[in-house]
């Protein structure tokens, strides 16, 4: 993964930019988009709950990596949507999906030893995808780029609101 700060900043930029066009996307829903950017990294639960423990508990093979895919993200988002009050579900679903998609897109460009980025679109696309290998997961420059984008978009959004009056 790219570090979570980069993911949160990319999601913030994407959602804030959308908010220039879509009136209901204000800070409340931008925040949901940022939370959505964390969804695929629920796979990091493997650091707290070993896969072997879950395998023993459910009696089936198990890999937390299933959460770091499009399918796993969609079901995780559905869980989040069910937890939200009825009147907010469509908007929350949309923003969580945008955030999660921005995370998978950023991870699709990570440099790996195989030249493939992993099964990010599984189960919709059953194979791993080739990656352009733009950066390592621990390099800081994607975060700097994301921060620059976030600042720029915030200026654009504020200017847009100022022009409208």
């Amino acid at each position: 993964m790219v570090d979570l700060l980069a993911h949160a900043l990319f999601a913030y930029a994407a959602c804030t930019l959308l908010g220039v066009r879509v009136a209901w996307i204000g800070p409340r829903y931008v925040t949901v988009g940022m939370a959505g950017a964390f969804v695929p990294d629920l796979s990091k639960l493997r650091l707290v709950v070993p896969e072997s423990l879950v395998r023993e508990a459910i009696g089936l093979p198990f890999a937390w990596g299933g959460l770091h895919t499009a399918g796993g993200s969609l079901v995780s988002i559905a869980i989040g949507v069910v937890l939200v009050e009825p009147g907010e579900r469509r908007r929350v679903a949309a923003m969580l999906a945008i955030g999660a998609a921005s995370h998978l897109l950023a991870d699709a460009m990570l440099r790996t030893a195989t030249g493939y980025s992993g099964h990010l679109l599984w189960p919709f696309v059953p194979t791993a995808l080739p990656t352009p290998g733009l950066y390592l997961s621990t390099e800081p420059w994607p975060t700097l780029v994301a921060a620059g984008l976030a600042v720029g978009v915030r200026v654009i959004a504020r200017h847009g609101r100022g022009v409208e009056g």
């Binding site: 949160a8 890999a63 299933g66 079901v75 937890l83 800081p140």
Partner: protein, 177 residues
């Protein structure tokens, strides 16, 4: 639809089961190097001899150098492998992702490798922790949990941002002092 607590609890149970099922299916994806899905550490730890001559993708920690020795671990099992033809020069403690060919005698011939130094890991975890705090703070500012309704609801009035709260607190401290 899904307005009652019972309906939501039932739906959550079904979705959680679906998530577990997806993760179970993911765990059994057959290695298919043509599709970019290589056998991993778990496969190697289960049956090393079956993978001799095949390409694998491993992630582990360097435990010694010259030659580089990678330690992989999965489900309580541990194995140390000598990395042959490694172009990089990792230090002990670095994490390395290795794409290579398994050879007899606990040796992996490296095709390509990505080295993540310990400092890089510390950086990533530190900023990720800060990101978590930032997003959590924003979530608390705009949303709250309503236990009676068993739901997350939008606050009718967002809480003041942390920066404003900190500014007010500092002003109070300065006025008092």
């Amino acid at each position: 639809m899904l307005d009652t607590r019972a309906a939501r609890v039932a739906t959550l149970a079904i979705l959680t089961a679906a998530l577990l099922w997806l993760c179970a299916r993911f765990a059994t994806l057959p290695p298919d190097t043509g599709a970019g899905n290589f056998p991993n550490a778990g496969n190697l730890l289960s049956d090393y001899d079956a993978l001799v001559g095949r390409e694998v993708l491993l992630t582990g920690t360097v435990v010694s150098t010259d030659p580089a020795v990678l330690e992989i671990a999965r489900g309580g099992r541990v194995m140390r492998l000598v990395l042959r033809d490694l172009a990089a020069s990792p230090a002990v403690g670095d994490r390395v992702q290795v794409h290579g060919t398994v050879r007899p005698g606990r040796v992996v011939e490296v095709i390509d490798a990505v080295v993540v130094p310990r400092s890089g890991l510390r950086y990533a975890w530190s900023v990720s922790f800060l990101a978590g705090l930032w997003v959590l703070g924003r979530l608390v500012r705009f949303w709250r949990i309503d236990p009676g309704r068993f739901a997350v609801v939008a606050r009718s009035r967002p809480l003041a941002p942390a920066s404003a709260t900190l500014r007010n607190w500092l002003r109070r401290v300065i006025d008092r002092g």
